[in-house]
């Protein structure tokens, strides 16, 4: 298999987004008839590299050679016609059309008079679905299919374009075990036909289960590439996570006090199950796990934006029920949401309005909002967090991602919380702001606040946390103290090995 003909070469690809070096001088070689795993942590640059390949991003530097010819793809439709298809985590499907209509969307076979030739469409769809070994009636509506089957429809679509390269971005993240096995069969069938498949994943069992070759990325850099059979599990984990923990994580010693927040047996059917942990004053508790492990959902339940099926939440020993985030904020529990544009900010409103939004009552005196109080609080946090804006009246959509995140954090701090929950507080922001936010978290802990931090970045979790809890598929698989934690152990819990197995 190793001597198969090379179909694609990506040479020295370099991709930057506003100071963030997403892909740094990465080369990648793909051969016919192989399943090539592209692995790395979240944010390692896997998806970005593939988006460069299909023409969604144009790289700052680097070269693409496809079937021996240097190419430059400007958009996905060009790449698709050339024979490269990417299947995204979010499918681009029209839910209210049938399977066959989706497969041939935009290039429907026509009759002589120019109307759609459904008969031929049906026949062609049947042939393609049969070819990849999938039993779906082309006439069913996509909305009626399971996620797994929708994914197979996407694959069928790729095949119908006569794709020689098919890229699958974490294809198994929403599938059950049997569905995964069926997907693997399809992948093997495609390989047997000589197609090259890029399989983006960070699940080890899948890499060893279906892939022939593996390329490891870390922090946007190329780390290693080899045949899967020449590599073992622990080497792979080591290459995925090994890094030096630098001054990026200015952890200060803080006095850890009493338990303030305690959750017992939190369950939300089908999402997470029996989650219990506690959080002490002055402590930073890291909540780790892979994407889709249920981390965000658990904290959403704590602040009241998600309904619980079972479980109890205690604050300073007293049982509380938060029906909505407003209840939690009134009790001093507030969250920095994961998606700042969707849940964190009103983008079209000013910096000032956003900072004050969660604690407007502080500016209220004698029945109306005082300008001087508004100024006082907004400028206090703009200075404290070093928010770079023309004035406090600047509209948030004109700020950089890092400054937007600081505005969200300013809003949270202005509400004077005791328990602060941060969901991916540094995702997609520049290195400088990231370090600022880490410093601030340390200071908050020293001040005696309790901090719960969700992060997909292992270094962040290791660098900042006093204690780490790890979720895997909605279950709590491990708890680690700062002294005993390392990347390998977190990763093992995160991929579902329970505590006993590790020791």
């Amino acid at each position: 298999m190793s001597d198969n003909e090379v179909i694609l070469e990506m040479k020295h690809i370099d991709m930057r987004f506003r100071g963030v070096h997403a892909v740094d001088d990465v080369s990648f070689t793909l051969r016919r008839g192989e399943v090539h795993a592209l692995v790395g942590e979240n944010g390692a640059g896997k998806t970005t590299l593939m988006k460069v390949l299909v023409g969604l991003y144009s790289p700052n530097a680097g070269e693409l050679v496809f079937e021996g010819v240097p190419v430059k793809f400007r958009n996905t439709s060009v790449t698709r016609t050339a024979g490269i298809c990417m299947i995204f985590q979010e499918f681009n499907q029209v839910k209210h059309l049938t399977v066959m209509e989706n497969i041939y969307l935009g290039r429907e076979p026509k009759t002589k008079s120019g109307s759609v030739n459904f008969k031929q469409m049906l026949e062609d769809s049947r042939i393609i679905l049969k070819k990849i070994g999938v039993e779906i009636d082309p006439k069913t509506f996509v909305r009626d299919l399971t996620v797994a089957k929708q994914q197979l429809v996407e694959i069928a679509k790729a095949v119908s374009y006569n794709a020689r390269i098919i890229i699958m971005d974490e294809p198994t993240s929403a599938l059950s075990d049997t569905e995964i096995n069926r997907l693997f069969e399809t992948v093997r069938a495609l390989r047997a036909e000589g197609k090259a498949i890029v399989f983006i994943s960070h699940k080890l069992e899948e890499i060893f289960g279906v892939c022939d070759r593996v390329t490891i990325l870390r922090d946007g850099r190329f780390i290693h590439s080899d045949l899967v059979k020449n590599i073992n599990e622990s080497e792979l984990i080591h290459m995925m996570v090994d890094r030096e923990i630098s001054e990026m994580f200015p952890k200060e010693e803080s006095k850890i006090g009493e338990i303030t927040l305690e959750v017992k047996g939190l369950t939300c059917k089908g999402v997470f199950e029996d989650i219990s942990f506690n959080l002490r004053r002055g402590e930073i508790l890291g909540l780790s796990g892979l994407m889709g492990a249920g981390r965000t959902e658990v904290v959403e339940a704590i602040v009241g934006s998600r309904k619980l099926d079972y479980g109890e939440i205690f604050l300073d020993g007293k049982k509380i029920v938060n029906r909505m985030p407003g209840d939690a904020i009134a009790r001093g529990i507030i969250m920095v949401p994961e998606d700042r544009k969707k849940h964190g900010l009103a983008l079209k409103m000013s910096v000032k309005d956003n900072i004050l939004m969660s604690a407007l009552h502080k500016c209220l005196k004698g029945g109306y909002l005082r300008k001087n109080l508004e100024m006082k609080y907004s400028s206090e946090y703009m200075t404290k967090l070093d928010i770079k804006a023309d004035s406090d009246r600047q509209i948030c959509s004109n700020l950089s991602g890092g400054n937007q995140q600081k505005v969200v954090i300013a809003r949270i701090l202005n509400a004077d919380p005791n328990v602060i929950i941060l969901d991916e507080p540094t995702r997609g922001i520049d290195v400088k702001t990231k370090a600022d936010i880490h410093k601030l978290m340390s200071q908050l802990a020293v001040q005696g606040k309790a901090v719960l931090m969700i992060s997909s970045e292992l270094n962040e979790v290791l660098g900042m946390s006093d204690r780490i809890i790890v979720l895997h598929e909605g279950k709590l698989t491990g708890t680690l103290n700062r002294s005993e934690a390392n990347a390998e152990r977190i990763m093992q819990y995160a991929i579902g090995k329970m505590e006993e197995e590790v020791h």
């Binding site: 144009s58 934006s305 939690a328 009103a346 409103m349 309005d353 909002l369 959509s397 509400a415």
Partner: protein, 331 residues
């Protein structure tokens, strides 16, 4: 371009383009104003201005009412029908005619406003708790309220109002008939609503709810409650506007106010309220209502036929939204 294309380049606050995008409506208004002053002998007179303001007052109150909802990213299509219903309930209270109850004027005004508040309550609760799009809810209540108006008035106009009731809509503060009471009430509504939107938490929460409802909820705002409150206020204001109109017209017909919702919405949009919510000011809405009034008045003075008026009005609304789109970067 990828993710980079999402952020717009900052526009210099001194550029012509910036001014045109942000003050286009005001600049257009000044041009229309100057043109009408030159083209017609009667436009630039004090008595004509009073006429315009008198005509604008009732619909202007409704403009502020619906503008507040649009800022919240909601809408009320039932305003026109509500004008009829509130006018009729108020009229029935005070009317000395066969159907009327001959009650004192203040009860009539109170009932007119209360009717608006009750319909607002219905709209607000259905939108906030039923989680039905406001467009659908208020389209339904548009028919319901019109039906109620027809039933209550037996399909006939309510008239025979006593003098004190008529006084409100027709009389002036001064003897020279220069400052009509209705205009004073319109101004008071504007001042109060401006205070509410700028200086009370409720106003800020209305902006936040319209700006990004998900973020507002995450920030601890009970957006359902905010929506209900806003609809209550809106209904009350429409009730007040309707009572004033009935008083000015000396009658309330079940067909009253047809198309008023569109005039009110147009005024708010022309006045700079973003149709996607989160942006707008009360004084902008006042200006918008006056612009619509001036255009109506100007076309009358110029002798423009009624058919053409509609085309002009429609074009202005589209133009205003086009400007809004350019200003906010999206629709």
């Amino acid at each position: 371009m990828g993710i980079l294309s999402k952020t717009r380049a900052d526009v210099s606050a001194f550029g012509v383009k910036y001014k045109l995008n942000n003050y286009g409506i005001q600049i257009g208004f000044v041009i229309i104003f100057i043109y009408l002053s030159i083209a017609t002998p009667t436009f630039f007179t004090y008595s004509n201005f009073v006429t315009i303001l008198r005509q604008v007052a009732c619909i202007g109150i409704a403009t502020i009412a619906v503008g507040t909802l649009i800022i919240m990213n909601c809408i009320d299509l039932s305003i026109g029908s509500l004008f009829a219903l509130c006018g009729i309930t108020a009229g029935l209270m005070v009317s000395t005619g066969k159907e009327g109850l001959s009650l004192p004027t203040f009860i009539g005004i109170g009932i007119g406003i209360l009717t608006g508040v009750l319909v607002g309550l219905f709209n607000g609760v259905t939108v906030a708790k039923g989680k039905i799009p406001p467009f659908i809810v208020t389209m339904g209540s548009m028919w319901i309220t019109r039906g109620l108006a027809l039933i209550l008035a037996h399909g006939m106009p309510v008239g025979s109002f006593p003098d004190p009731f008529v006084y409100l809509g027709t009389a002036s503060v001064d003897k020279g008939n220069m400052i009509p009471w209705s205009v004073v009430i319109f101004l008071i509504v504007a001042v109060v609503m401006d205070f509410l939107m700028k200086k009370r938490p409720l106003g800020r929460y209305i902006y936040a709810t319209g700006g990004n409802e998900d973020a507002a909820i995450a920030a601890g705002i009970n957006t359902a409650r905010i929506k209900i409150k806003a609809y209550l206020i809106e209904g009350g204001l429409v009730g007040l506007g309707a009572t004033l109109l009935a008083s000015r017209l000396k009658s309330a017909a079940p067909a009253l106010g047809q198309g008023y919702e569109l005039d009110a919405i147009a005024g708010a949009i022309v006045g700079g309220v973003s149709f996607s919510g989160g942006i707008g000011s009360v004084w902008g809405m006042v200006l918008g209502a006056i612009i619509i009034g001036v255009i109506n008045n100007g076309m009358d003075l110029l002798g423009v036929q009624a058919f053409y008026k509609q085309i002009v009005k429609g074009s202005i609304i589209i133009l205003a939204v086009l400007l809004d789109r350019r200003r906010t970067g999206r629709g």
